[in-house]
Symmetry: C2
Subunit: 247 residues, 2 copies
DNA sequence: CGACGACTTGAATTCACTCAAACACTGTGG
DNA sequence: CCACAGTGTTTGAGTGAATTCAAGTCGTCG
């Protein structure tokens, strides 16, 4: 069950230092000096927390205490509408921060679920605020992260405002590959960590429409799908779909 | 009339001080002590900037230097998609912050346009960051504001994920009245500052659908529309539409 | 190997869109 | 004062893209 997970790590505790983390170039401590990094190492990350596939990192209504940096694995965040419908509002991979939604009210508004076995760095928020009073670089980066989160959501709004399913799915696939590429993965080959249902929920489409659209892309030679394996064969063509070019 | 509450103190330029602003209870300096407010007064708000209806506060690509607190008036923010389509991604009224999208990259991603004659307080961002190093209360409130902005956008995503135009329009109207109510305006009577086109763009609908939906609400006795004048006659009924109750 | 969940594909339906026309409101200039 | 243009809004009719409903297939894991 979810609960089991809270245990401090057997293995990890000696390695809970940002300065040696392989994600330090894209995670919160980006741009800090070595001295600042040392400082961060000492006080910022309280511990790591491992999660099994399906575990929840936090749930709606839970008291907000910390933000979380994804270290390994993959997450979705979801929100429940008034009518009970649950919608995916984000997918998150290594180096990204989770839990920012809780700052405003002191309670989490969303649920974060691990889509594969994962590990997060727990960053007590009061610690982060305290430390960022002393380290302008850390404060700045945190502000940048939050701002980018806003811009990202706005981008999704833009996407959902367009009526065309194809543009949405193309944008989704390209966005995923870009983020994976920034983390050193292949630009053309990826494994979807989420179901068609979850993709559809995120994009405001039904799972059938997502499936049909991917099949159509395959028929058009833009990519190759086989279950959750995707190989992109024509990134430019996908970009054209996104840009509304219909040749 | 409603308007009276909002009217710029004609005395404005000598009163560029948060401590005497009628919006201080809902704007950035919320929760600060008198001593802290004094400090804020001295250095935070560089000046006020008036805008005529139709003026842009900033445009996409513009260098990000400051965030802006809406003092009087009403704004929309828009973003342009790859295909050239321009979409409204936010409406903003007194006490709300504009320009947060620029922090992440140092350039504005969006455009902010005054929908009526307006006035904003210009808050140089480096000043805000510097001051919030000294005033934990200010830092906290700024973080809360950004977080709420994220939650707000997520809420819109949720809305646009639902296929039903009626739910979207109901949510839009209710949200607007709630925000106006928090500012001391009537809970039942409001003037839309934006066109049907702009509402539709924001909600991912066409202007015709917005118009039809408002007419339908009127036929059902939920509200009364006459151009941009809206009077809500059955807020509970509107909430039911939003919640998916179809009696 | 069998069962379950995930995925694909087909057919019919529906809701919002597009296109089109007419109406309301506002401000301008004769 | 009214005619007029221009913008914004309402309403109607027909269309279409995505949905819903319904099989059927694939893949994985006990």
């Amino acid at each position: 069950m979810d609960q089991a997970v809270f245990h401090p790590l057997h293995s990890a505790s000696c390695a809970v230092v940002c300065s040696r983390c392989n994600l330090r170039e894209i995670c919160l401590p980006v741009g800090l000096t070595q001295a600042e990094l040392d400082h961060v190492d000492r006080v910022l990350v309280s511990h790591r927390r491992p999660l099994r596939q399906g575990d929840s990192l936090y749930r709606p209504g839970a008291s907000f205490e910390a933000v979380y940096a994804v270290r390994t694995g993959f997450f979705k965040t979801t929100r429940t509408a008034n009518d009970g419908r649950e919608q995916v509002i984000g997918f998150h991979m290594g180096g990204e921060l989770l839990g920012l939604d809780g700052i405003g009210t002191g309670r989490h508004e969303t649920q974060a679920v691990a889509l594969e076995d994962s590990q997060v760095c727990v960053i007590p928020f009061h610690e982060l605020e305290r430390l960022s009073q002393q380290l302008p670089g850390l404060q700045q980066e945190f502000h940048r992260v939050m701002s980018r989160e806003i811009v990202l959501k706005e981008g999704v709004m833009l996407l959902m405002g367009s009526r065309q399913a194809e543009a949405r799915v193309a944008a989704f696939v390209l966005n995923l590959t870009h983020r994976l590429q920034a983390r050193g993965f292949s630009a053309s080959s990826l494994v979807l960590r989420m179901t068609r249902q979850e993709i559809g929920s995120y994009l405001g489409l039904t799972l059938e429409t997502v499936s049909r659209t991917l099949s159509k892309f395959q028929a058009e030679g833009l990519l190759h799908v086989r279950g959750r394996q995707v190989r992109i064969t024509d990134a430019v063509g996908l970009q054209d779909v996104l840009d509304g070019a219909v040749p």
